[in-house]
């Protein structure tokens, strides 16, 4: 399961260590040698596996159930990646249309939710590439500007975040990040992908991914330090 699931995030220490690859939430339990010779039991009627199987067989009602089960997660992912409600709606629609076209090809090599999540990310990335967010622009975004050099924190007033962050203010600050920064921050820090996975998805180097994530966090830090404490609106 990725970080954006409904499960609480597990404690990570030290907190800035790369998070684990998105875990597989519906992965079949490892089976012993004896179990390998047995045919798995059919899914229980009404279970997630049953809904999936029926949707794969073309049951429209089951597909609607899948939509209900996953719409929030996919829409939230799209919204965070693009930072725009109208685009997020279009991308969510496109992701579920692609799901409908491809669902029969799902073979269960990974969890369905992981597969769908990756499909949605690909839809968003395709969209962003069409809009012109290429690796080149990602690299350009990482070039230090005079105000973003590594030493920019020098002499900064000692206004620590004091270990607490308003969630809504953070959501808004993420939405305000430049597209390249936002993409990597969302994929790494929220969705739980590792730098090598992000580099593969975005066709950039692992170093670029690390650098861009760092700059995204610096930008968020600046944004959060200027948020009035009372602020909580979105």
């Amino acid at each position: 399961m990725t970080r954006a699931s409904t499960q609480p995030a597990e404690p990570v220490s030290p907190r800035l260590r790369p998070v684990a690859a998105p875990a597989v939430e519906d992965e079949p339990e490892p089976r012993g040698p004896a179990a390998e010779t047995h045919t798995p039991p059919p899914p229980q009627p009404g279970s997630d596996a049953d809904v999936l199987a029926r949707a794969q067989a073309g049951d429209h009602y089951a597909f609607a159930q899948l939509y209900s089960l996953h719409k929030r997660r996919i829409y939230s992912l799209c919204l965070r990646m693009v930072g725009n409600v109208a685009e997020a709606e279009d991308l969510t629609q496109e992701a579920f249309l692609q799901l409908h076209r491809k669902i029969a090809t799902f073979r269960g090599d990974s969890a369905f939710s992981t597969w769908l999540h990756r499909l949605a990310i690909n839809v968003v990335l395709m969209h962003l590439r069409k809009k012109g967010l290429s690796v080149i622009s990602l690299d350009e975004a990482m070039e230090p500007t005079p105000e973003e050099g590594p030493g920019r924190s020098f002499g900064a007033p000692d206004l620590s975040l004091a270990g607490s962050i308003d969630r809504l203010a953070l959501e808004r600050a993420i939405a305000d990040l430049p597209a390249g920064y936002r993409l990597i921050f969302v994929l790494h820090d929220i969705e739980g992908y590792e730098h090598n996975e992000i580099a593969a998805m975005l066709d950039c180097s692992i170093g670029n991914s690390k650098s861009q994530l760092h700059k995204a966090r610096l930008k968020l830090r600046d944004a959060m330090r200027t948020v009035p404490r009372r602020e909580g609106r979105r």
Partner: protein, 83 residues
């Protein structure tokens, strides 16, 4: 770039931060961090942001009409083309 971990400037340390953090090393135990309040505060803030991000859940539901649009698009795709 100076590689002496014990005699780094803040600029040198901060230039190495993306790699240091991204590699999973415990940046908090770096000699420069132990001796520099500024970089320690910076690291602490970045940790706070990363931690807060991990606790963000999907909070937004798409509008109700989105399913109607998806359903309509699916029907269109499956409709036999007419001449």
């Amino acid at each position: 770039m100076t590689q002496d971990r014990y005699n780094m400037t803040c600029e040198e340390f901060q230039a190495q931060m993306p790699e240091l953090i991204g590699s999973g090393e415990d940046a908090g135990s770096h000699p420069h961090v132990l001796n520099c309040a500024l970089c320690r505060a910076l690291l602490s803030d970045l940790e706070t942001i990363a931690e807060a991000a991990r606790q963000l859940f999907p909070v937004e539901d798409p509008p109700d009409h989105l399913w109607d649009q998806i359903e309509s698009a699916i029907k269109q795709e499956h409709e036999p083309s007419r001449k």
